[in-house]
C-alpha cells in the first residue's frame, strides 16, 4: 500500500518547542529544551535511556503538561482542547508498545481506526503492508515482540498522518523488517510528513534523518544535520591511502603538519585530519608525484559524533 500523495493542505505539521522544562517530583527530566521541526522534516532524537526522550514525546502529544516553556504543534498547544482534532493527524508509536491481549491483530487495528474515525477497509491494507495479514485473526497474546511492534507501526500509520512520532520504532524488528520500516518511513517523508523518531541504533538512523538532536540528562546537548554536527564536533576525518612503500617520505613532505601519516600492517597509510582540511589535502596528494593506487575517505560516523557530544554533555 502506498499512502498516496498528500494534498497541499495536508502537508506535515510543524513543531516548535521553546524553553521546555519538566520535572517528575524532584527529578528534573527535561531542562529548557528548544527545538523547531519544519513541516516535512525528519528529526531524530538520540540519547541514552532516561535522557528524557519519552517525556518529550508525551509533552508533544499533550499527555503531560510542561512545568515551564511552551509547545506548539502546527501552532496549537497540544495540552489544549483545540488540539483534539489534530490528534487524528498524528501517528504515535510508543516505546514497547502493548495491546489488549484478548483481541486479535485485526480487532486491535479496527479499534484504533474507529477512534480516529477511519473506515475498517484501510486496516486490511495496513496489516498487509507490515506483513501481518496472515496473523490478522490471531490473538495479540500469541504475537512475538516483532509482530507487536509491526502492529504498533500499523496503528501509527492509520489515516495518513501528517506527523509521525516514533519512540524506538525498530526495537524487536529483524534486519529485513527494519529495511521495510525505513522504506515505509521514506515514503512518508517524501510525501512531506513530519517525522520525529528516537533510536538507540545509531548506525541505522544515520543518513535517514535531516537533523539529529542529542539529549543528555534532560538537556539538548547538540542539534543539527550530520555534516553540521561533524563540523561542530571537530572530529577528525580519516584518509586511507594505498601508496608504494618507498613514497612514505614524500607523503610526509606533502602532508606537512596537516595529517600525521601512520602506516598500517596491510601496506596502507592512514592520515587523520580536520574536516575542513580534507579537500585541500587530497588535492595536494593527487597533484604530487606520489603514485596513489587507492584512496578511501572516512568522515566521523553518527556514532562518533554522538559519543563526542554525549561525553561533553556528561561533563556539564
Amino acid at each position: 500500500m502506498h499512502p498516496g500523495p498528500i494534498p497541499p493542505e495536508r502537508k506535515g505539521l510543524g513543531i516548535r518547542l521553546d524553553q521546555l522544562s519538566k520535572a517528575y517530583g524532584r527529578e528534573q527530566v527535561l531542562r529548557q529544551i528548544s527545538l523547531v521541526a519544519q513541516p516535512g522534516e525528519c528529526v531524530a532524537l538520540l540519547g541514552p535511556n532516561g535522557a528524557g526522550k519519552t517525556t518529550l514525546f508525551k509533552l508533544m502529544l499533550g499527555l503531560v503538561p510542561p512545568d515551564s516553556g511552551c509547545i506548539e504543534i502546527d501552532g496549537i498547544n497540544p495540552a489544549g482542547r483545540a488540539f483534539r482534532p489534530l490528534r487524528s493527524e498524528i501517528g504515535f508509536l510508543p516505546e514497547n508498545v502493548s495491546f489488549h491481549d484478548a483481541m486479535t491483530g485485526q480487532e486491535v487495528l479496527r479499534f484504533y481506526a474507529r477512534l480516529k474515525g477511519i473506515s475498517a477497509t484501510a486496516c486490511a491494507e495496513l496489516l498487509d503492508r507490515v506483513g501481518l495479514a496472515a496473523a490478522a485473526s490471531r490473538r495479540v497474546t500469541t504475537y512475538s515482540k516483532g509482530m507487536r511492534q509491526r502492529l504498533g507501526l500499523a496503528q501509527a500509520l492509520l489515516g495518513n498522518p501528517r506527523l509521525l512520532i516514533l519512540d524506538e520504532p525498530t526495537t524487536g524488528l529483524d534486519a529485513a523488517l527494519r529495511k521495510t520500516f525505513f522504506d515505509i518511513l521514506r515514503n512518508f517523508k517524501e510525501e512531506g510528513v513530519t517525522i520525529v523518531i528516537s533510536s538507540h541504533a545509531l548506525n541505522e538512523i544515520e543518513a535517514r534523518a535531516d537533523r539529529y538532536a542529542i539529549l543528555q540528562g534532560g538537556r539538548l546537548t547538540a542539534i543539527g544535520s550530520l555534516s553540521a554536527l561533524q563540523q561542530e564536533s571537530g572530529l577528525p576525518v580519516r584518509i586511507r591511502l594505498q601508496i608504494p612503500r618507498g613514497e612514505t617520505n614524500a607523503l610526509h613532505k606533502v602532508v606537512g603538519d596537516r595529517g600525521a601519516p601512520t602506516p598500517s600492517t596491510d601496506g596502507h597509510v592512514t592520515l587523520t585530519c580536520l574536516a575542513d582540511q580534507k579537500v585541500g589535502l587530497i588535492r595536494d596528494i593527487l597533484a604530487s608525484d606520489i603514485q596513489v593506487a587507492d584512496i578511501e575517505v572516512r568522515s566521523s560516523s553518527l556514532e562518533d559524533v554522538y559519543a563526542h557530544f554525549a561525553s561533553k554533555g556528561l561533563g556539564k
Binding site: L63, I90, N96, S98, F99, A102, R114, K116
Partner: protein
Amino acid sequence: MSVILTLALKEFRDGMRNRWVAAAIVLLAGLTLAVALLGSAPVGTTKATPLSVIVASLSSLSVYLVPLIALMLSYSAIVGEAERGTLLLLLSYPVSRWQVIVGKFAGHLAILSVAITLGYGVAAGVAAYPAFSSADIRALFLLIGSSILLGAVFLALGYLLSAIAREQATAAGAAVALWLAMVLLYDLALVGVLLADSGHFISEQLFAALLIVNPADAFRIFNLSQLGVGAVAGLGGLGTTASVPPSVALGSMTLWVLGSGLLALNRFGARQP
C-alpha cells in the same frame, strides 16, 4: 458519540471473553436456582408467592455479589491500562478522558446488565414457573433494575480507586477493603452503635438516614419496600419500618454513581500517563 460507543463495545467484548464474566453469570443463575429450590420451604407457612420469596432472597444476595462483580470489572480499568502501557497510546488518540470513563462505564454496565438479567431473570422465571403474579414480575424487574443501579455505584467507585492507585495490586486491595467496609462492616458497625445506644440518641429517622447513605443498604431498603416483606428481612427491614420512600433509596444510589463518577474523572484528569 462514536468514540464512546467504540470504547464501550471494546470493553463489552473484552468482558464477554473474560471467563470471570461467564463465571458471574453462572454464579448468579446458580445461586438464584439454589435460592428458589431451598426457599420453597417457607412458602407453605406464609402468604408469599414463590417468586416474591425468591426476589426477597435475591435482593439479599445481590447486596454482596453485585458490588463484588462490579468492583472486579472496574478496579483495573485505568491503573491496569496504565500498567500495561495501553493507556498512553489510547490517550494519544482523539479521545477525551471523560469519554474513556463513560465508554468503559457503558461497556461494563452492559456486561453487568447481561449477567444480572440472565442470571436472575431466567433462573427465577424457571424456578417460579408458572406461579407468579404481575406484582411478582414487577418486583423481579425492579430487583434487576436496582441491581444494575447498585452495580453502577460500585463500577464508579472502582474507577475512582483505579484512577487514584499507582499499581494495579493496590487498586485490587482497595477494592476488597471497600467492598468489606460498605457491604459488611458498615451494617455491623451500625448494629453495634444501635445496641450501645439502646435508643437514647439515635432516633428512627437518624437510623434510616444512616442506612440510606450507604448504597448497599439503600438497595436493600428499595427492594424490600417493593415487596412489603421488610419486617422479616434483617437490618434493611429495620430501615423500611422507618418508612423510607423508595425514590429516596434510588436517589441515594444515583448520587453515589454521579459523585464517584465525577470524582473518578477528576482524579483521572490529574493523572499523568
